[in-house]
């Protein structure tokens, strides 16, 4: 999983969230309410709920485009079970939560990296799925 999860409080607007995602080069944000993880917002949500509806991002509250509740696993969950949960819920990321605190995020890209490491599947294809992202510390950074 990726440990350094970027989060933003639900009091911000959609433009703030998009700017943060752009600056951090990430595809989703965990949205918090107080200090508790509340939901998630992905690139897809912005396109479908703001662009397609022709809304102004500055005038749209982050909470209005946030998907909640979060689909979560505990840190001691088995990877295969987390993968099944992703498949069942048709999501590409699952938030790892313990005692109401975010411990990390597990993405489809993390799964591809895991398979490469354990020599399962076809390496060349899995590398394409990781999109040439280099792991820096615990975070993936695009285009390094």
């Amino acid at each position: 999983m990726t440990k350094n999860v970027i989060m933003l409080d639900s009091k911000y607007n959609a433009m703030d969230a998009a700017k943060l995602m752009k600056d951090k080069k990430i595809a989703s944000l965990v949205v918090t309410k107080g200090n508790v993880p509340f939901g998630i917002v992905t690139e897809r949500d912005f396109v479908r709920l703001i662009c397609a509806e022709n809304l102004q991002s500055k005038n749209t509250k982050l909470i209005d485009i946030t998907s909640s509740p979060l689909i979560t696993v505990k840190p001691d969950a088995i990877i295969e079970d987390a993968a099944k949960m992703m498949a069942k819920n048709k999501v590409r990321r699952i938030v790892v939560v313990e005692d109401d605190a975010v411990a990390g995020i597990l993405t489809a890209t993390d799964l591809a990296a895991y398979l490469i490491k354990h020599r399962r599947g076809t390496k060349q294809v899995l590398l394409a799925l990781t999109r040439n992202m280099k792991s820096v510390g615990n975070r993936y950074i695009f285009g390094v």
Binding site: A14, M15, A18, K19, M21, K22, A27, E43, R44, F46, V47, R48, I50, C51, A52, N54, L55, Q56, S57, K58, I79, E80, A83, K84, M86, A87, K88, K90, R92, A108, L111, A112, Y114, L115, R120, G121, T122, Q124, V125, L126, L127, A128, L129, T130, R131, N132, M133, F142, G143
Partner: protein, 149 residues
């Protein structure tokens, strides 16, 4: 599997496309209604660029631009990174990896034949690793849905 041609696993044309002079709002509506993560931009039928969900977030939403006043031509990614129909699954995987992209239009003589995505590649390896749950999840779950039918 790696030596297979991409044409065997791609989504074939006609694809949902957009044009330089159309608005972001219109393209986003197509992406929403057709459940697409990207649209190829065509100019007189020729593929010239691509817009992805990421482009819209970073170049429209983050800049607080109006979706109905912003034209596709102002925010699209070009030139298009593409492959020919003779390319193999292996070479498509390499091109995606090297360029950090997940989608490759398949083009021959300026004509858009189809598109191959990293999900298509994952589905191709699923067939050879049908018991691997993690690989199943990578292929965006179609196989599991089919198995559950």
């Amino acid at each position: 599997m790696l030596r297979k041609r991409v044409t065997e696993i791609m989504t074939e044309a006609p694809l949902d496309t957009t044009e330089r002079g159309l608005t972001v709002a219109l393209a986003a509506r197509v992406m929403k209604e057709r459940a697409r993560g990207s649209l190829i931009v065509v100019d007189n039928g020729k593929p010239v660029g691509i817009i992805t969900e990421r482009d819209l977030v970073r170049r429209v939403i983050a800049e607080n631009r109006s979706s109905s006043a912003t034209k596709i031509g102002d925010i699209m990614s070009e030139p298009l990174i593409s492959i020919g129909p003779e390319a193999t699954v292996s070479s498509a995987a390499n091109v995606m990896y090297k360029n950090g992209v997940r989608r490759l239009p398949v083009i021959e003589g300026g004509r858009l034949l189809g598109i191959v995505t990293s999900t298509d590649l994952a589905r191709a390896i699923q067939r050879e690793s049908e018991k691997d749950e993690v690989i199943l999840a990578m292929g965006r779950f179609k196989m599991i849905e089919e198995l559950n039918k």
